[in-house]
Symmetry: C3
Subunit: 343 residues, 3 copies
Amino acid sequence: MTLGQLAQAVGARVAADQAGNRVSRVSTLDSAGPEALTFLADERYLERLRASHAGAVLLCEQHVAESPVPCLVCDNPHAAFARAAALLHPAKRPPPGIHPSAVVDAGAHVDPAAHIGALAVVGQGCRIGAGAIVGPGCVLLDDVELGEGVWLVARVTVGPDCRIGARTQIHPGVVIGADGFGLASDDGRWLKVPQLGRVILGEDVEIGANTTIDRGAIEDTILGDGVKIDNLVQVAHNVKIGDHTAIAACAGIAGSAQIGAYCTIGGGVGIAGHLRLVDHVHVTGMSLVARSLDEAGAYSSSMPAQPMRSWQRNAARFRHLDEMAKELKRLEEQSRNDHGDNS
Amino acid sequence: MTLGQLAQAVGARVAADQAGNRVSRVSTLDSAGPEALTFLADERYLERLRASHAGAVLLCEQHVAESPVPCLVCDNPHAAFARAAALLHPAKRPPPGIHPSAVVDAGAHVDPAAHIGALAVVGQGCRIGAGAIVGPGCVLLDDVELGEGVWLVARVTVGPDCRIGARTQIHPGVVIGADGFGLASDDGRWLKVPQLGRVILGEDVEIGANTTIDRGAIEDTILGDGVKIDNLVQVAHNVKIGDHTAIAACAGIAGSAQIGAYCTIGGGVGIAGHLRLVDHVHVTGMSLVARSLDEAGAYSSSMPAQPMRSWQRNAARFRHLDEMAKELKRLEEQSRNDHGDNS
Amino acid sequence: MTLGQLAQAVGARVAADQAGNRVSRVSTLDSAGPEALTFLADERYLERLRASHAGAVLLCEQHVAESPVPCLVCDNPHAAFARAAALLHPAKRPPPGIHPSAVVDAGAHVDPAAHIGALAVVGQGCRIGAGAIVGPGCVLLDDVELGEGVWLVARVTVGPDCRIGARTQIHPGVVIGADGFGLASDDGRWLKVPQLGRVILGEDVEIGANTTIDRGAIEDTILGDGVKIDNLVQVAHNVKIGDHTAIAACAGIAGSAQIGAYCTIGGGVGIAGHLRLVDHVHVTGMSLVARSLDEAGAYSSSMPAQPMRSWQRNAARFRHLDEMAKELKRLEEQSRNDHGDNS
C-alpha cells in the first residue's frame, strides 16, 4: 500500500512527495527495513526512532523532527498502527462452509456464510450467524447463539443457551458457560445448586486462551460490548462486566461481582464476590479487591519482591506489626507526658 | 409441582391450604413471579423478601412472619433450595449410546447404559460405567475407569490408568492425570522424572472448567469423596485432599501437600509442597500457606487493596520494616533507661 | 534389569556380588519391595532408608552405611533415579501412522515415522518431524512445524506458523500461539493490535497442562532449550525465556519480559511486563517481580498465612504503616533532641 492510502485509512497526514512510497508490512522501530511501517508511541524509544531504517513511521506531530524516515503524523500513533497493521496483514478467515468431519445437529441453524471447521460439534438448536467461524475442535452444546462474524478460533467450548455478540473473538481452550461453583452446605457436605443462568457476551468482545466464564446461577453472567479479557482468567457466575473494561491474564473475579465500564484489572488480581466496582477503576497487578470501590481511580495491594534476605526480615517483622504499633503508641504517650511534664 | 410435593421432597413444611399451589421453576427473590419458587438464606435480603411476588419461598421458621407469600419452612433453606431446583430443573443427561463419530477402541468396555458423545475418544482398556457420560470432544487415554453416573461434560482429558468415582462431574477443559512437574537437576539442566502414579477421584466429586490434576510421581494423587474444586485450579502430583473439602478458583496446591477433610480453600490461594493441613482448616482468598497447619481454624495472608497512593506509601515503608522495628526497640530501651534514671 | 546393568546405565557403582540382583520397577523408600528400586536424595528420609525393604537404593557414598539393602552409589541420586525410572518404565509412545479419523490437510507434510492420533487436525503447510506424536484431539493450525520426536500428548492447540523444537513434550489443554493481549486505546475503547509474531520453542522443552504461550506481537515469543513449564502458566507475547529455566504452576509472565537462563520461578509468581531478569534468578512462590533484576540470587515477596485474627490485626496496622513510620521518626528526633539537650 502507498503511504497516502494508509494515511487516509488511519487518519494520518503524510508529506505530498512521500505519499506514493509503498510499505508492505509492519515491524518494530529496530527491525523495520524500507518495506516496513513502524510507530513511535512512547518517548522512551526516541533513540530508536533516530536510528530507524523504516519505510515510514507513525508518530505525533511533536516527534516529526526526530525522524530520519518518512512520517505519518497523527494524534494516537498506537491506535493508527493497530489499524494500519490490520490493513497490511488482514486476518485469514476461512471461507464459508461446513467441514465434512464436523458434527452439526440437524436441529441447528448455520448461516450459509458461516464456517464450521474440522471436527467441530454444533448442538441441537444452535444458531450460527453470517460470517461466524466455529474453528476446528470447538464444541457448542445445545441452543448456543453466535452473532454475525463471531470467531471461535479453535477448541472453544460453549455451554447450553449461551449468547455471543457480533464480531466477538474467542481463543483456544476457552470455556464459556460451564456450571458456576454453586454449593449449599448440608451438614458439612456440599450439595450442588443447579446453575440455570446463561452467559451473555456483548459485541466486539475478545476472550484469551483457556479463560473460563461460568454461567449464572439463576440469572445470567453478562459481559458488555468491547470487553477484552486475557488468558487464564476466571469469571464466576453472575458477574457483570461493563463495556470496554479490560482484564489481564490470571485474574479471578468471584461470584456476583459487578465491575463497571472502562476499568482496567491487572494480571493476577483477585476480586471478591458480591462487590461493586464503579466505572473507571484501575487495579494494579496481583492486588486483592476485598470491598466495593465506589470511587473511580487506581487501587493496589501489589507487593514487589526484594532480595530474599531483606524480604524475610521484613516479613518476620510484619507478623508482629500490631505489637509494634501498640509499643509505638505507648512511646508516643510517654513522650507526650514527658514533654507535658517538662513544659 | 405442588408445594406439598416439594415440601415433602426437600424436608420442609407448608401450610395445608397452600400445599396444592404450583410452581414450575426457581428464581431470585427479586425476579420471582407467582410461578416461581425462591429462598431466603441471608438476613441481609429480608427487605427483598418483603417485596417478593414469588409463588413460594423457602425460609427458616424465624422469618415466616416477614413473608408476603406462601412459605416452605425448613432449617437450611439454601440446601432445600438446591434440592428443589434439581427437581424443578432436572439436568438434561443425554441418552445411552455411542455417537457414530466417537472413536472407541475395540479393547474398551462401555456399559450399554453409558453415553459416548460426538467426536469423543475412548482408549484401549477403558471401562465406562452404567449411566456415565463422556461428552463431546473428550479424550480418555488408555485404561481409564469411570464409575457409574460419572459425567464428563465436554472436552475433558483423562490420562492413562486414572480412576473416577461414581457420580463425579467434570467440566470442560479439565485435564486429569497429566504428568506432574517432576524434575531432577543434573548439572544445571533438568531431567524429567517419569510420572508413574495415577489420579484417583472419589465419588460425588465436582471439578471446574480448565482445572488440572496431575498424576502421582510414584504413588497416586487422591481426592476424597464429595471434594468440590472450582475452575482453573492446579492440583500437583501426589496431593491428597480429604472428603468434602472445597477449593475455589485459581488456587494452586503444590506437590505432595496433604489437605484434610471439610476444609475450604479460598480463590487464588497457594499451598506450598509437602505440607499437611488438618481437617476443618479455612484459608482466605489469595493467601499463601507456607507451613503445615496443625490446628483447625481460619488462616490468612490476604492483603486488601487501598487507593494506590496510600498503598504505595505503605509498601515503601514495608521495605524498611526491619529497620523500623530495630529503631523502635532502641527507643523503647532508651525510654526504659530514661525512666529508670528518673525513678 | 540387573543392578549391574542399571548402575552402568545411570553412572553408579554397585557391589560385585549384588550386580546380578534384579529389579523390575521403581518405588518409594516406604513402599518398595524386593523387586523395586528406590532412592535417597534428602537426609530427612534417612529413617525411612533404615526401614526400607527395597531391592536396591540409589544414594550417595556418605549414606551407604545406613542402608539395609543393596546400594547403587552415585553423586546425584535424584538424577540417577530419573534415568533409571525411564529405563524401567519406558514411556508408551504410539506407533507411526495416521489414525483414519484424523483430518490432515493435503498440503501438510507428515513424516512416515510420525504418529497422528484419533480426531487430530493438522492444517495446511504443517511439517511433522520423524517420531513426532500428535495425540488425540490436537489441533495444529496452518504452517506449524514440529521437530523430531516432539510429543503433543492430547488436545493441544498450536497456532499458525509456530515452531516446536525436537523432543519437546506438551501436555493436554496447552495453547501455543494464541493472539497476545495487544490493545490500543482509542478514545476509551480498545482496538485490537494484530498479533503477527510466532512462538518458537526450543528443544527438550516441557509444557504443563492448560498452560498458554502467546504468539509475539511483531517479533516472536521465544523459549530456549530445556525450559520446563508447569501447569496453568501464562506466557505473554514477546516474552523470552533462557535455556534450562523452570517455571512452576500458576505463574504469569507479562508481555515482553525477558527471563534469563537457569532461573527458577515459583508457583503463582507474577512478572511484570518489559522487565529483564538475568541468569540464575530465583523467585519464591506468589511473589511479584515489578522491576528488572540485574543480579543473580533469590528474590521474594511471599507473605505466609497466619491465624486469621492475628493476620487481620497486622494487616489493619499495615494500612497505617506510613503514619507509623512518620511518628517513629518524630520520636527519634525528639529523643535525639532530648538527649542532646541533656548532654
